[in-house]
């Protein structure tokens, strides 16, 4: 799965959660203005990732591809914070420079998933009954390719690579988004203010753009934030399996894949890229959950 269960859980659980969100809001350690310690940490990690993705040179001025065979397999030290790899490339530099590729892949895959999900979700949520029926059946078929299966099928057809693996991850998350958007749209569509807009004589297009989309957008943003982390993890998994980005590109999954041969002797080659995957996935999830809580309690 790709998407986290908080997106796919049954409505019963979501209702239960909504009921208790007020109470839960008071739980946990909170600093000033209702921000928890975990959220501050998550914010810091995301800031680091953004800076690393936009201007990696600010944090790691070295060359991520610059080899130095005399310095190969150095353990972490003051000179090489995360050690060096088999060609003497500095792993800290590579991990920081890898943020751009990994974050871009994660964001693009999520955007593809949500874009497709939006198309199908809106068709099913707004269209006539037969369209809803056929779209829902189509989604059921797509759900029967669970987890990475759809992605693997896509890669069989179009061959491995960064672009195909990104599209593949986006594609396999799309059915989940579509189902969620459909139920969101259905919920909002029944809201009194939509009815009011209809009574006031607004046409379908105006209702869609001015009333429906803005109200679905908030939920969508939260879902997207929650989905980015998982997209990064799955894209990196595909790279690790040799189906995505390939070494020596400084992409986290590819770095892990390259370090796989040296697991037993040089742990730092795989430890640090993996750590950054965990950090970015956890940080985006925490951010998404924080947004979710804010949205519910407001």
């Amino acid at each position: 799965m790709i998407i986290s269960p908080s997106l796919t859980e049954p409505p019963a659980a979501q209702r239960g959660r909504q009921r208790s969100s007020q109470r839960r809001h008071r739980r946990g350690h909170r600093l000033a203005r209702g921000v928890s310690v975990a959220e501050v940490l998550a914010g810091a990690v995301i800031l680091l990732l953004v800076v690393a993705a936009v201007a990696p040179g600010l944090i790691a001025p070295g060359d991520p591809l610059g080899i130095n065979p005399l310095q190969s397999f150095q353990p972490p030290s003051a000179n090489h914070l995360f050690g060096t790899d088999e060609s003497g490339r500095d792993i800290f530099t590579r991990v920081i420079h890898g943020a751009r590729a990994s974050v871009t892949i994660g964001l693009t895959a999520t955007a593809i998933g949500i874009g497709l999900g939006l198309v199908f979700g809106l068709l099913a949520g707004l269209g006539p009954r037969w369209l809803d029926f056929s779209t829902t059946r189509l989604l059921e078929v797509l759900f029967a390719f669970p987890g990475l299966l759809l992605a693997l099928l896509f890669i069989v057809i179009y061959g491995p690579g960064v672009v195909t693996s990104t599209i593949a991850v986006g594609l396999s998350t799309a059915p989940g988004y579509a189902r969620l958007i459909r139920s969101q749209v259905r919920q909002v569509r029944a809201a009194p203010y939509i009815e009011a807009a209809t009574v006031l004589g607004h046409g379908p297009a105006s209702r869609l753009v001015r009333h429906l989309l803005p109200n679905v957008a908030g939920a969508l943003f939260v879902i997207a934030t929650l989905g980015i982390g998982q997209s990064i993890v799955w894209a990196a998994s595909l790279s690790y399996l040799g189906l995505g980005a390939v070494p020596p590109a400084p992409e986290w999954g590819a770095m892990l894949s390259a370090g796989r041969t040296y697991i037993s002797s040089f742990w730092w080659m795989t430890f640090f890229p993996g750590l950054f995957i965990v950090l970015s996935a956890a940080a985006t999830t925490l951010l998404g959950r924080a947004l979710q809580q804010r949205k519910r309690s407001s």
Partner: protein
């Protein structure tokens, strides 16, 4: 009408749905596979670049029926499916059914062990945090998010480095027997436990502060009793609702984990088939996985209806 009649009707509809989805999945897969550039006969004879002779290619095409019109191929494919014949693997030169029969049991075993471990971990953390107050709740929530964010392959590597290389307790590759199962199962279980824990803890927290928990306390039930006898059941419903998702997660995890630990199984065969473009094997695994997914979701829907009759009423309006 007897009370069983709606359930039976629902079940029949569901079975019809299963058959429809299986047909759609195999059709989508069959035609999607035709989009692969290149000659499938080359893949049969030995992959691209093997420079097979024209005769060998023609023989391979004839053997696998690739020289027939597409529609005929499709109909024959459906006919074979109906008689449970999944064709022959290009790369392994044995029937897909026998490959799946060999690789499915180890993967199922791994998944069942991993799922059990995940449920135990998730429950233990949830039980501790629900009664441990605010600090415990915050810690548990943080641990769950981090666990859910850990990629399988990284966890596997850490496990190998720590328990095989440094401590020497467990084998780095999966050997037969329980010691070879520990690391793969734990690797699969930890992220799953993170997801399960998030959902179960929410439900447990709700249940522990619900009116029925209050009334149980008023009857003199202690906190342990409230937790095990009353609240636990309520956390089962959202957890069961996750089953379809967990199935996909375990399968995707198995692809990674079986590859890293060199463990024979369906996931590893699938990856090898994808890498080698072994079309019949990919199609076969896809169909078997889709069937498994449909069975799991049907079973869980049934279980949910039996546990919580309110859902049956709701499903009508959905």
């Amino acid at each position: 009408m007897t009370p069983a009649a709606p359930l039976l009707r629902w079940l029949l509809l569901r079975l019809g749905g299963v058959v429809f989805v299986l047909w759609a999945v195999s059709t989508v897969t069959f035609f999607a596979i035709r989009l692969i550039p290149g000659d499938p006969a080359e893949a049969i004879v030995g992959g691209p670049g093997s420079e097979a002779s024209a005769d060998a290619l023609a023989d391979a095409r004839a053997e696998y029926g690739l020289d027939q019109p597409l529609l005929l191929q499709y109909l024959r494919f459906l006919g074979r499916l109906a008689s449970l014949d999944l064709g022959r693997s290009y790369a392994l030169h044995q029937s897909v059914a026998s490959v799946i029969a060999d690789t499915l049991p180890p993967t199922l075993g791994l998944a069942v062990v991993a799922l059990s471990v995940a449920v135990v971990i998730a429950l233990a953390v949830a039980a501790w945090s629900v009664r441990g107050g605010r600090a415990a709740s915050a810690v548990a929530s943080f641990l769950e998010v981090v666990a859910a964010a850990v990629p399988h392959f990284w966890l596997a590597i850490l496990g190998i480095v720590l328990f095989s290389t440094a401590l020497g307790w467990l084998p780095p590759v999966s050997v037969p027997g329980p010691s070879g199962l520990i690391l793969p199962a734990l690797t699969l279980a930890v992220p799953l436990a993170g997801f399960l824990g998030q959902v179960m803890r929410e439900a447990l927290l709700d249940a522990m502060s619900s009116p029925f928990a209050l009334s149980a306390r008023a009857r003199g039930e202690n906190e342990n009793g409230v937790f095990w006898r009353h609240a636990l059941r309520h956390s089962a419903i959202p957890a069961i609702g996750l089953a379809g998702w967990a199935f996909g997660s375990l399968l995707s995890g198995a692809v990674v984990v079986e590859t890293i630990f060199a463990r024979p199984g369906l996931g590893r065969s699938l990856l090898q088939a994808v890498q080698g473009r072994d079309v019949p094997l990919v199609v076969g695994v896809v169909i078997v996985v889709a069937l498994g997914y449909m069975l799991v979701t049907t079973a869980t829907d049934l279980a949910e209806r039996l546990i919580d009759p309110r859902l049956a009423a709701r499903a009508v309006s959905r």
